[in-house]
């Protein structure tokens, strides 16, 4: 299947979805007359979309009246004026826990204390156990929370990166500004954003995300390649990236690792 033909396939899908303007729809129909595979694809797409159109959830009305929903929203605003998310009590509890631990640490550092008398070894151990117990539990809970957030951030990042790479792999548009070039400006820009986001938020060496390290590195490498492309790139440059993504089976690995991260 040629690159050019890939564009016709995409237009065929958009025709089935009724998403082409008249001129483009007419051009696509003309192509269908000469392309049996595309015509078959159109028939199959239409049949699949017709089935989805019969989805009983399509066009469903909310099961509660507007007034009840307004009341729910107002109640939420009353209970969480700062926009907190009450449906995540775990996070709220962990935040409270973190605050308590922080307060304990700060108060220990700031409050003047008398020099302690030398305690007996047994008393020291008992005191250490009674003091360290809750703090250790709290620290453990915070560590678990941090791990969860790290994994969530990494999964989100990989999912966004996959969107960009899939776009690059599938069917980019012809560049209107240069002959024989493909438009990848938005994907290059998005790649740069994602690279910056990874530097800021995604830890590769954290124990919680170590499972994703190889894939994160591969993704970073591919995003760098995409980020370095001209907005109107040469098809062969894109083809090279596409080949590399396929060779590494990167999209499949992203899927697997993202699922793993999401637990």
């Amino acid at each position: 299947m040629t690159f050019r033909h890939g564009r016709w396939r995409r237009r065929t899908t958009l025709l089935a979805l009724g998403a082409l303007d008249e001129a483009e729809a007419a051009r696509t129909r003309a192509h269908l007359g000469a392309c049996a595979a595309c015509a078959r694809e159109l028939t199959e797409s239409r049949a699949a979309l017709e089935l989805v159109r019969q989805d009983p959830l399509r066009g469903a009305e909310p099961p509660v009246p507007l007034g009840a929903l307004v009341a729910r929203v107002r109640a939420r605003l009353e209970e969480a004026p700062a926009g907190g998310r009450v449906w995540r009590p775990f996070l709220a509890g962990a935040g409270l826990l973190a605050g308590l631990v922080l307060a304990a640490v700060v108060s220990r550092a700031l409050l003047p204390t008398a020099p302690p008398a030398a305690p007996s070894p047994a008393a020291s151990m008992a005191a250490a156990a009674s003091e360290a117990g809750p703090v250790a539990d709290s620290a453990d809970a915070i560590r678990r929370l941090e791990h969860t957030l790290e994994r969530e951030r990494a999964a989100h990042y990989l999912s966004d990166a996959q969107d960009v790479l899939v776009t690059v792999v599938s069917a980019p548009q012809r560049c209107a500004r240069r002959r024989n070039a493909v438009e990848v400006g938005p994907e290059a820009e998005r790649s740069r954003e994602l690279l910056a986001r990874r530097r800021l938020f995604v830890e590769t060496d954290a124990p919680s995300t170590v499972v994703a390290r190889d894939v994160l590195d591969d993704v970073e490498e591919m995003l760098r390649e995409v980020a370095a492309l001209d907005a109107c790139a040469r098809p062969q440059d894109l083809e090279a990236i596409r080949g590399e993504i396929a060779r590494r089976r990167l999209l499949m690995k992203i899927d697997l690792v993202t699922r793993e991260l999401q637990g």
Binding site: V52, P56, R58, P62, G83, S159, D163, T167, S170, G185
Partner: protein
Amino acid sequence: MTEPSDRDLMGRLAAGDREALEPLMERHYQRLYRIALAYLRRPDDALDVVQETFVKAYTHAARWDGAAEVAPWLTRIAVNQAIDIYRRRRRRLGKEEALDDAAPQALAVGDPSPERRVLGQEIGERVDSALRILPERQRAIFVLRHYEELSLQEIAQALDMSLGTVKSSLHRAVARLRERLEGVRS
């Protein structure tokens, strides 16, 4: 007296006027509910999405760009909320059974005969299973186009994506659905 525009209502929300919530919700809540329901397949979750979308609209109103259209902005919040809920549900239940308990329920479309209801439920389950294989954003794009019939430009605006990304995502989504639904149709 003319109706206040969406922008007027957002301006009032930004100024802390909660009375502006109801008219804004009246204009958008059904559309947002349909989007969330098509995405999440569960009425309770869809209602949560609508609720949280308007909570966010109020709490983030001050950050809203006064020149921006309100409907795409609300759509983007709702889609992000739906994706968040989907991820939480998947984490909670485990990926394999994430949507197994999500068969269409409380269908509020007409009052079909028992046969049609059974058939509708079967189709709903097939569609549910097919949509489940789509990546999160791809599914959102497909829902906005095929369920809400937004134009490609409107989808790009709502999800802050390029038109090319929207087109290629739709192409991939339909290709996957075609494969998944092939056996069902034949």
